[in-house]
Amino acid sequence: MVDLTPYRAILRSRIRAQLQYRTSFVTDILGTVGVGLTELAEVWVIFHNVDVLGGLDFTAALLVFALSNICFSIADMVVGHLDQLPTYIRAGTIDAFYVRPLPLLAQFMSSEISLRRIGRLTVAIIVLAIALARAEIAWDTATVVLLILSVLSGTAIFSALFTAAGGLQFFVVDGAEFTNAFTYGGSYAAQQPQRVFPDPLRIFWTFVVPTAFVAYLPAVAILDLPGNVLAPTWLAWCTPLAAVFAWVVAGSCWRAGTRRYQGAGG
């Protein structure tokens, strides 16, 4: 059993440090609430003009929005700082990680937690509640399991994206903006009805950077909507597989990155 005590100790201190500056902290939370609301407004404005987009009505779109934002907010909270790797390298923190008896990635992940994302997370959870209430879902065990599974796997997928981004930072100087295109871009893609994308793009967001598994596929299954060729309903149950795939890739990126650090020298 992995001993989590050191990680808990580090995280506890990070949380305490953030709570210290109460006003800034509250402001930051309100800030991410604002971000969540703005993204929501985008969906709302579009549906002010149309009734159905990509096969989804407003309620379905809200569900997709909610699921993608919940998963992304949590991932961002826990590992969002992984694109700060260059800062850590410059400060010598990575070297400090090497001389401690803990795995590097675990240290890096636990070194920070962005509590302020809880604002965006709250917005997303509220939207989830609204969407689930509005939709006429035939609730059964399978649906509940699917919902929970999707949130867990979706968060894992986004976390993998951040980790892969972190690993790539070892290769590209100031590569954060480049990887952001796929982490934040991936989040943006995840909250759309996938049928709006032309096929090549759909394949990309489903099988290359599997963000379609985070929200759209589960939503289609939960709401019992007709699937199509690229989104058969049963695919929603494969979200955990997508998460595993994402993590295999992320793990390789990370290992390649640390090997390069040891090979090329900070």
Binding site: T38, N49, G54, V172, V173, G175, E177, F178
Partner: protein, 264 residues
Amino acid sequence: MRTFALLVRAGFRRHSTYRLALLAGMTTNSVFGLIRASVLVAAVTAAGTQIGGYDAPKVLAFVWWGQALLGAVNLWGFQEVGDRVRTGDIAIDFLRPLNPQLTYLAGDLGRAGINLILRGAPALLIGALLYDLAAPPGLDSWVLGLVSVVIAVVVAFAASFIVNLLAFWVIEVRGIRLVWMITSGFLCGLYVPIPWFPDWLRTLAQWTPFPAMLQNPLDILSGRVDGGAIWMTLAGQLAWGAVLIVVGQVVLHRGRRRLEVQGG
């Protein structure tokens, strides 16, 4: 005037060394452009042929011109001036012969120029290659569109400049900056065209300078607004620009006085 031109060129050069960052910016633009284009075209198709004056080709032009202008027009504001006010370095700027607002504006125009060329043009090219964009309907749309872009840069700069100057009076500008960053993107028409907003939200947006930063030039360049109506749009933009520059000067003057009173 010559100094101004030199400063513009300096700003130009300073930002051109960040080539990798520009490449990265292009990737971001492309990814977001592709997603946004898909969504908005799907919306237009779902609604029939057009929404709010945007048919498919026009909305595609809207998206890709928007991505192209993103780097040039500083929608999310800058921090440099606010930081200098906080540290007191702003006093040095006051000692220089040229008005600080104009100095920073010059630098920003240079930055906008390089971004437009190195980051904006490729983004537009990618959009044009992949999609059937509506081209600006006439030469006047091209020329006046680019004029509109320049004014948009000025408006965005001037507005953010004022927010930065608040640092003279308010210690924690964090909250204001956050609100700025959040609302600017939305109310300038970056995510969804402003004509698509519900009436009340559209009116709200039009009472802010944000549409002048992006929506206006996009309207002209996509051809949604053409012919004589272009002049109306430009007039509105110019009005915002003028007002914000003047207010900026007033606030700068007040700030300088406060600095002198406090002893810097």
